[in-house]
């Protein structure tokens, strides 16, 4: 057992840190310090800066354009990005569909899609959930009818995050109604500019149009855009679920929220005229979250170490989503609490509240989704009960 980093790792860390300090544009650096929301344009600007450096896809194999980082380097790299608060890249292309294209795609598909994901020329979104297929994903009803050389897709996807900015959508669609409902599902890659396809942005609790209802009305999709085998889409979906799990450990987000809470508590004055951060009660509140975050981080390290050794993820990975999302909510709740009256402000103008408080309320609202998306925490607990604890079914 060894929890230290090698001297080489430390050197790498310093290089990354120096590069970020240099490469992050000033306007983005200002927003990063305020934990502000980044616009799509800002995110893509940062994507292209990373892409030019060759660091945009740290987990991709080198043959597809990855930088050849070790798992530890990937970890350090992510940690430095999070500490700097750089714009969070859209995961749908880089982290979600790309590994599936790499694993299940043919050479033509790999050549067509991967370079443009890497460069940022094409953005992606995810078409999974439907109005009546949320937790029960396999009940999806969007159909793709086989017309010989193409499919015709009809139906509706919902909660498609940032579909309004996307060039492509990867979708689970029903291609057969025979057998178990999981068996008739295929995985399609669909051009967002197809005729009959419309993405209608929907406001979230944070009042940002973070996701869309996406409608498919006789959308033609070439057969070449089928990823993996016909009716084999469920396998791809499950493979993706593993990817999502480490994605949603949210260690960096929680750490940023806790740091933000401390920076607010260092300024907000309590009833005894001292900053809250000097009051044992509030220190204890911060400490409680920090201690749990520490446990969560160590669990995340354990998962990474397994990955590094090329082993199957252990049972500890299954808890990352649940613990991470619940911590994320606790941390943004704490930010709201330390703000006192300022927590009442909504999308305030300059100067109404201190700069570092401006984005807390929408973050707090948006974080309610953390325990719902990517498999609600109820579904996650069902999965752990069944597959890890092997408890009996009803």
């Amino acid at each position: 057992m060894d929890l230290s980093f090698t001297p080489e790792d430390q050197t790498f860390r310093e290089q990354v840190r120096a590069w970020i300090a240099d490469a992050l544009p000033d306007d983005l650096a200002v927003k990063a310090r305020a934990c502000a929301h980044f616009t799509h344009e800002e995110i893509m600007r940062w994507h292209k800066i990373l892409a030019a450096k060759g660091w945009v896809a740290p987990s991709w194999p080198e043959k597809f354009g990855g930088p050849g980082f070790s798992v530890t380097q990937r970890f350090i790299f992510n940690e430095e990005l999070e500490l700097a608060g750089t714009p969070p890249l859209s995961p749908f292309g880089l982290v979600m569909v790309a590994p599936l294209i790499q694993r299940f795609g043919n050479e033509a598909q790999q050549a067509r899609f991967l370079p443009k994901i890497l460069s940022g020329e094409e953005c992606w979104c995810q078409g999974y959930s439907e109005p009546n297929a949320g937790s029960d994903l396999a009940s999806l009803r969007t159909t793709a009818q086989d017309m010989g050389d193409h499919f015709v897709v009809n139906g509706q996807k919902t909660w498609t995050t940032y579909a309004q900015h996307a060039d492509w959508i990867f979708c689970l669609v029903r291609t057969s109604s025979e057998g178990k409902k999981q068996a008739g599902i295929s995985f399609l890659l669909i051009d967002m500019r197809s005729e009959g396809l419309e993405a209608r942005p929907m406001l979230t609790l944070s009042h940002s149009p973070a996701f869309c209802d996406t409608f498919f009305d006789n959308v033609k999709v070439p057969k070449d855009n089928l990823l993996g085998p016909l009716n084999g889409g469920w396998t791809l979906a499950k493979a993706l679920l593993g990817h999502e799990r480490t994605l949603v450990a949210a260690v960096g987000v929680v750490r940023r929220w806790v740091r933000l809470a401390k920076s607010i508590a260092a300024v907000q004055v309590g009833a005894d005229d001292r900053p809250l951060l000097q009051d044992p009660y509030w220190r204890r509140r911060v400490a409680d979250i920090e201690m749990r975050l520490r446990a969560h981080e160590m669990t995340n390290y354990r998962a990474l170490a397994e990955q590094q050794k090329g082993r199957h993820p252990g049972p500890e990975t299954s808890i990352l989503k649940v613990v991470g999302s619940e911590l994320q909510q606790r941390a943004s709740e704490l930010c709201m609490e330390v703000m006192g009256h300022d927590a009442l402000a909504w999308l305030p103008e300059d100067g109404v509240v201190p700069d570092n408080e401006r984005w807390v309320a929408p973050n707090f609202c948006y974080d309610r989704a953390a325990t719902i998306y990517a498999g609600s925490n109820e579904i996650q607990r069902n999965i752990i009960a069944k597959h890890i604890l092997r408890l009996p079914s009803a």
């Binding site: 009546n132 609790l205 009833a271 009442l344 719902i372 109820e378």
Partner: protein, 375 residues
């Protein structure tokens, strides 16, 4: 020991309940939220005045209908259930009780009476950047002006509920002889009101007082310890009012969530048949009932001048709103799943109102600390 409402009170609850269902469903709140303007309707306010709701809790001597704070709480609980946006809590409870407890007869005649009729609205400006829910720590200054007992007011007030729309603002400030309260017209020279959007979609204001001139007649009759005692009692009414409205919000959320659990299907069954979700709903129900119990106690004890009894009842209730009420609110969103985090579904509007009510007149930590000092 009797928890029953009187016949008149039951009738009042029913009248307000019918009104909010028919005349002010949640969609009305949403429209006012999304429109330009103050976020509430002067016409509806005048109607509430005509119906006697604004006068209900005040003694007849002040132009009221002779009820008590219980009447205000009954009305607020109803208004909470469909997020009626008129400033009952800000104007009737915070503004009205400040005048009822702290003003002289002439001032009450001039400022309280028209509000009770629904002709004007009030706001209480007590929050400042550094007073963390303690109304007696005031940096705003009232400097004696040349001549007959007047002052000029200097300083900033923050998050003044209904401060953007109120005709008269009640402002706390420190005079050379202690804390005092002043009535300031909304259009007073030297007063700048900046409308501030609030998390729940309502509005408030930040005030800048840059030498606002007030006469002796604008200073509320109580001074020094008087104004302090008034403010403390008024904020307890405010906290108890937030609890009553929050109880309305929480019970509406519980009902909506139960309804959703009983209709939404996943995996071929109603999701309300899943035991883990059932037990979650039961935990919500428990918190609503405990909140109801403490709201009942707070609405009665808020009237008590005895500080210990009043503070303990009010703070316990407000703390329960900030813990149990928030649990109900957050779990309601969670149990609604994806639609719960869209702005299109009403549940999110209730969620945000609950967040605001948990903060208004002191958050959970503030009230728990206050309670802990008295154990």
């Amino acid at each position: 020991m009797d928890f029953d409402l009187s016949e008149e009170q039951q009738l009042l609850a029913k009248t307000v309940g019918d009104y909010r269902k028919q005349r002010s469903p949640v969609s009305r709140f949403r429209e006012l939220r999304d429109a330009e303007g103050p976020g509430w309707s002067a016409q509806a306010w005048a109607e509430m005045g005509e119906l006697g709701w604004l006068a209900a809790p005040f003694p007849e001597a002040l132009g009221g209908l002779g009820g008590s704070f219980v009447e205000a709480a009954i009305i607020l609980e109803q208004l909470g259930q469909t997020l009626v946006p008129e400033p009952y809590l800000a104007s009737v409870v915070l503004g009205g009780y400040t005048l009822a407890l702290g003003a002289d007869e002439a001032q009450q005649q001039r400022y309280l009476a028209p509000m009770l009729e629904g002709e004007t609205s009030l706001a209480l400006a007590w929050a400042e950047a550094n007073n963390r829910f303690d109304p007696t720590r005031v940096e705003c200054e009232a400097r004696p002006a040349a001549g007959a007992g007047g002052f000029t007011l200097h300083g900033d007030k923050r998050f003044v509920l209904n401060g953007h729309a109120a005709d008269h603002l009640l402002v706390s400030a420190t005079t050379p002889d202690g804390l005092a309260l002043f009535v300031v017209g909304g259009d007073a020279p030297g007063l700048t009101r900046t409308t501030v959007g609030l998390i729940d979609g309502q509005r408030g204001a930040h005030l800048r007082l840059d030498g606002v001139a007030v006469t002796a007649a604008q200073r509320l009759a109580g001074t020094g310890a008087g104004a302090k005692a008034v403010l403390e009692r008024v904020l307890d009414y405010g906290a108890a009012g937030a609890v009553a409205e929050g109880l309305g919000v929480a019970s509406a959320m519980l009902d909506m969530t139960n309804e959703y659990l009983g209709t939404r299907e996943q995996f071929g069954r109603k999701i309300g048949s899943f035991q883990a979700l059932q037990h979650r709903a039961v935990d919500m129900f428990i918190e609503v009932e405990l909140l109801r119990s403490l709201s009942m106690e707070a609405m009665i004890r808020a009237n008590e001048a005895d500080e210990r009894e009043r503070v303990m009842a009010v703070s316990a209730a407000k703390h329960q709103l900030a813990t149990g009420g928030q649990l109900v609110s957050r779990q309601s969103v969670q149990l609604h799943g994806g639609v719960g985090v869209t702005d299109e579904h009403d549940i999110g509007l209730f969620f945000k109102r609950m967040q605001a009510l948990a903060t208004i007149c002191g958050d959970g930590a503030h009230h728990a600390t206050r309670y802990a000092k008295l154990i």
